[in-house]
């Protein structure tokens, strides 16, 4: 009886605590933990999380035949559960390619190569919805970048970008997110910048947005030139951030203020 109660108690503590789920010594914090209780509840409750509408739309697109090949995602992959564990290991290098693509890039490769359709434009509703649908299949799984040795150089380049000062304000990502995480930039707590919730539904945007969109916001904030659409820099930063968040839990679709 006591053992059972202790067991239940522990289960609750474990479920509630990311730190314990990651191991007690791991002090990394997902941006989710910096949000108000109300927003955390919104993210956790599928009925309240606005990102779930995109997941539903993604599910519809998954089953819809399209393109000159007349095939749906489901025709090749089966139902969405086949995507479990995929989002936690992206970006990755596709078969017969030599440079990594992020999850959205992979979806667009299937569009063009396998469905023989046009690629979805960046930040389009369809692309975000499919990315959210695929990422949602991995919700709760630990981030697990692949050990592909070809990724090492791309990841290192991402780390260089992370550390480089840029923009008129002459700041780097690392200055804010490594050295000053948890401090207040005006009223806002600076998060550790773990890509655990992407794509996210941001209340300020009133829509779902990709990690690229978030990175563009930070670059614009320091008055730096943003990278062009489709630039490899976004994928390199994504690789670096996913490695830095290795073992943390994927939470897509995240909610942010």
């Amino acid at each position: 009886m006591t053992a059972l109660r202790l067991g239940i108690g522990l289960a609750i503590i474990f479920a509630a605590s990311y730190a314990l789920a990651q191991g007690a010594a791991d002090k990394r914090r997902s941006g989710t933990q910096d949000m108000s209780d109300a927003l955390q509840k919104m993210q956790e409750d599928d009925a309240a999380n606005p990102g779930m509408l995109f997941v539903q739309l993604g599910g519809q697109l998954w089953g819809k035949a399209t393109g000159a090949a007349g095939k749906s995602c489901a025709d090749c992959h089966g139902d969405g559960t086949s995507m479990k564990g995929v989002a936690v290991r992206y970006p990755a290098i596709p078969k017969d390619a030599d440079a990594p693509v992020d999850l959205e890039g992979r979806i667009n490769l299937c569009r063009t190569a396998n469905q023989q359709a046009d690629s979805f434009p960046p930040e389009s509703r369809e692309l975000l919805a499919l990315a959210a649908y695929v990422a949602h299949q991995s919700r709760g799984l630990p981030i697990a970048p692949p050990d592909d040795p070809r990724l090492v150089a791309f990841r290192a380049r991402g780390q260089d970008l992370w550390k480089a000062r840029q923009g008129q304000l002459n700041l780097s990502c690392a200055i804010c997110h490594d050295d000053n995480a948890g401090r207040k930039l005006a009223g806002v707590a600076i998060p550790e910048a773990h890509p655990t919730g992407y794509p996210i539904y941001r209340l300020e945007w009133q829509t779902l947005g990709s990690l690229k969109r978030r990175l563009r916001n930070c670059l614009a904030g320091i008055r730096a030139e943003t990278y062009a659409d489709g630039a490899p820099e976004y994928v390199m930063l994504d690789l670096f951030l996913m490695d830095r968040a290795r073992g943390m839990m994927l939470e897509s679709p995240g909610v942010r203020p």
């Binding site: 304000l169 002459n170 207040k184 005006a186 730096a224």
Partner: protein
């Protein structure tokens, strides 16, 4: 033109690149414009998140701005800790005193990477705005 007038005119034209010649010790003793700044305008610049950006990182005795940062020391008392010349150099280009500082260089255009097109070759504040901010900070004596 009188000699002081000439000097003022020369300084008024001092481009960000010419600032180095005006540094004495850890200060820039002379006004960048040759004119004293206006403390009231300086306060408005410091308070404005899109202009001075100061309160993103600093707190300060500006009660109506509720959201202030804690990445940097409070601006309260800056005028008793530093002379106007010392304040001027810290705002113009703090990296000359501490290469690792995170405080942006407010009156420098060189040595910056990947600056957004609309800000290229522009300083964060104009020389006159720097003087206004210096005049305001000089009033902050605890």
């Amino acid at each position: 033109m009188s000699r002081p007038g000439l000097l003022a005119a020369a300084l008024a034209l001092a481009a960000p690149a010419a600032v180095a010649q005006q540094i004495v010790g850890d200060a820039i003793p002379a006004s960048l414009t040759g004119q004293p700044g206006d403390a009231a305008r300086g306060r408005a610049i410091v308070a404005n998140r899109g202009v001075g950006l100061c309160l993103l990182c600093h707190s300060g005795p500006i009660a109506e701005e509720r959201f202030q940062g804690d990445l940097a020391p409070s601006l309260a008392g800056a005028g008793s800790r530093w002379s106007e010349g010392q304040l001027r150099l810290r705002i113009v280009d703090g990296a000359r005193l501490n290469a690792d500082t995170i405080m942006p260089p407010y009156y420098r255009t060189g040595g910056l990477q990947r600056v957004a097109r609309n800000f290229q070759d522009k300083t964060i504040l104009s020389a006159a705005q720097v003087e206004d901010v210096v005049a305001y900070l000089a009033t902050l004596k605890d």
